[in-house]
């Protein structure tokens, strides 16, 4: 068996509460120096508030990272290459 491609196993059920996710989101943003506390806590009249931004972030984290992780790819296939490894010399404007 390819050590980098073990047998598939069903994804783990997400067992993370809203509170745990909010804490993770706010910690991650704090590490980056991004401060959501300047937004109102909950104000439907405001263009954005913490309640809606955190709800959007939770939806995103509950779906996207796992969906991408669940898509198995052969490590030997489609490696990213350094720009402009295959560029230049073709047509106008090349090297």
């Amino acid at each position: 068996m390819d050590p980098l491609n073990p047998a598939a196993r069903p994804p783990l059920p997400l067992d993370v509460t809203d509170e745990e996710l909010d804490a993770a989101i706010l910690a991650r943003l704090e590490l980056l120096g991004v401060d959501l506390s300047v937004l109102p806590e909950s104000d439907d009249e405001a263009p954005a508030d913490r309640r809606r931004i955190l709800a959007s972030a939770r939806r995103f984290l509950r779906s996207t990272p796992q969906a991408i992780a669940d898509f198995r790819m052969d490590p030997q296939e489609v490696p990213p290459v350094m720009y402009p490894a295959e560029l230049g010399g073709r047509g106008e404007g090349g090297r």
Partner: protein, 577 residues
């Protein structure tokens, strides 16, 4: 200019025979370029010049632009001329640039208070430029033609806001390369157009108040003008400008063009320089024209395109073919025919009428009945669109196209899903990191995708980029195995993988008493703008939908600004850009 070909090869033979570009270049080359571009975005090799106004723009002369010698139309108002017609009339001195600019400004004055297509109108500067054009030598193919430019293109000395608080006071000192090239050909800036904040949605204020209306439905803000190049589309559809520019990251040229009966062209990644355009996603932003017909789109793209040393994405591309010839209808034996033999691939579902929703139970409540009525109306509208698509394919077959059914590649639903689409979000957050750290309120209503982009793990970003390359490979090898173009209703996945798209009107339908255009989208192989334009030109040679224009709006019937509805945070998340 030379193309990289092997002597005596089939490709060399194809070039000699005047074949479209997709027959004369190696599609593998695009795959390698796309892989490189994905890697560059993850390593930061691109983008260092994208937000730096200190990089001086130097407009290149671009590809040769041989304008068609179009006859003077019968229209009384020159604002109704196509770009090709107006440019030819100015060249022949049958129309002055001043007359044309005044005609457009008169319509802006009369109607833009209701339509709100423009953020900024530079009337005095446009008049001065027109006077200079009338008294001076012809500067280029677009001499004296007034254009509307999306407000994320840098325009020297003119505010460039992207409808965002972040750029509220930004006045660039130089022109975006694409606009500089249009101006170098003699085009005149009429104004900057409304857009979704930072190119995220239909046009709204930075805080989400709906602004621009669809020119075909000026009394109903719930009918979208299409986004995010909303103002560009409304300006051209309402005949306030001859043509316009837009940008597309996830449908923002094709969607407003379809919504307002225009011919929109999203070129191949790298055809048009992004230098001097406020970035949204390094690997997916595409500047292009929203135009009145295929010929105008060909002229605009020819002027905008070409290599730019300041944007490495544009370098090393095959030369731009003669798009004006490609967009010129062909007659054989007096009958309109397609310029090139073309197999049009039809994807599953494109011709399927939606099933009518099951009727509510006899004891259903009023709300359930209202929901059913709405679903039934939506299904009826979709059925009308399907009928128009069938008629379009019949017409293309009469023009000489071969219509073939194609199947979707493996993992299609997964690789084109919203989750994989979200891989673009870190590319959005990175150039704005300093602004995010400074004050997140400056993003107004559009904040959430910038926050979400900060949360995607690096492993997911890399796997998502690799998955995008896999999708591109499967599109090139499988989706295009038996066809030259694909006809579809959505820009996905062509704008994800950088392939060209064209949209054009194929009919009208009536929704609640409002006549609205219906469009279609054709997707092509890398650098296939010439083939796409030839198909649109063939269609427009035998139909009149592209000539239809909305009635002038009853200004008093348009709801006042501030009473047109508001965008919500979740709608920004759901929007395709």
């Amino acid at each position: 200019m030379t193309r990289s070909v092997t002597t005596g090869s089939p490709r060399n033979k194809a070039i000699a025979e005047g074949a479209p570009t997709d027959r004369t270049v190696d599609r593998r080359d695009f795959l390698r370029r796309a892989a490189a571009l994905g890697a560059a975005a993850s390593t930061g090799a691109l983008g260092s010049t994208l937000l730096r106004p200190s990089v001086a723009a130097a407009a290149a002369t671009g590809a040769p632009l041989r304008m068609p010698d179009t006859a003077l139309p019968q229209e009384a108002d020159p604002a109704f001329f196509s770009l090709a017609e107006a440019a030819a009339a100015i060249r022949r001195r049958e129309l002055s640039a001043s007359e044309l600019v005044e005609a457009c400004l008169a319509r802006v004055e009369r109607y833009d208070g209701a339509l709100l297509a423009f953020n900024t109108v530079v009337a005095d500067e446009a008049r001065a430029a027109a006077r200079a054009a009338d008294s001076g030598p012809v500067r280029g193919a677009l001499h004296g033609v007034p254009l509307a430019i999306k407000d994320n293109f840098y325009t020297a000395g003119v505010p460039t806001t992207a409808n965002s608080h972040i750029f509220a006071d930004f006045v660039p000192e130089w022109d975006a390369e694409a606009w500089a090239r249009l101006r170098a050909r003699g085009a005149i800036l009429l104004g900057k157009t409304q857009m979704g904040p930072l190119a995220t949605s239909r046009a709204t204020t930075p805080d989400g108040e709906t602004t621009t209306l669809n020119a075909w439905a000026p009394s109903d803000p719930s009918i979208s003008p299409g986004g995010s190049s909303s103002g560009s589309a409304t300006a051209v559809a309402a005949r306030m400008a001859l043509s316009s520019t837009g940008t597309q990251t996830g449908g923002s040229i094709t969607s407003p063009s379809m919504a307002q009966g225009l011919t929109g062209l999203k070129p191949t990644m790298g055809r048009v320089s992004l230098r001097g355009i406020i970035p949204l996603t390094y690997t997916r932003d595409h500047p292009g024209p929203l135009a009145r017909d295929a010929m105008d789109a060909a002229i605009m793209l020819t002027a905008m395109a070409g290599p730019d040393a300041g944007d490495p994405r544009t370098l090393g591309q095959p030369p731009l073919p003669d798009l004006v010839t490609a967009a010129t209808p062909v007659l054989r034996g007096g009958t309109p025919r397609l310029r090139w033999s073309t197999r049009i691939g039809v994807v599953p579902g494109y011709l399927d009428a939606p099933p009518e929703p099951p009727a509510p139970a006899a004891d259903a409540g009023e709300e359930d009945r209202r929901i059913w009525e709405r679903r039934r109306a939506a299904a009826a509208r979709e059925a009308e669109s399907v009928a128009l698509r069938r008629a379009m394919l019949d017409t293309f077959a009469q023009l000489g196209a071969e219509i073939v059914e194609v199947s979707l590649p493996a993992d299609w639903d997964t690789l084109t899903s919203g989750d994989f689409n979200n891989v673009r979000l870190p590319e959005r957050s990175e150039p704005f990191l300093e602004v995010l750290r400074d004050d997140v309120r400056r993003f107004g209503v559009s904040l959430s995708p910038w926050i979400n982009g900060l949360l995607l793990p690096g492993t997911a970003y890399l796997r998502g980029q690799r998955a995008k390359q896999l999708l591109l490979r499967r599109v090139l090898d499988d989706l295009f195995a038996d066809c030259d173009v694909v006809v579809q209703a959505s820009p996905i996945p062509f704008d994800i993988v950088g392939l060209p798209l064209i949209t054009f009107p194929i009919g009208h339908r009536v929704d609640d008493g409002v006549t609205l255009p219906v469009g279609t989208i054709l997707g092509g192989l890398p650098w296939a703008e010439d083939r796409l334009l030839s198909l649109a030109a063939g269609w427009q040679a035998v139909t009149e939908w592209h000539r239809a224009r909305p009635e002038d709006p009853a200004v008093e019937a348009a709801p006042p600004a501030g009473e047109r509805g508001r965008l919500e945070v979740w709608e920004v998340d759901a929007f395709g850009e």
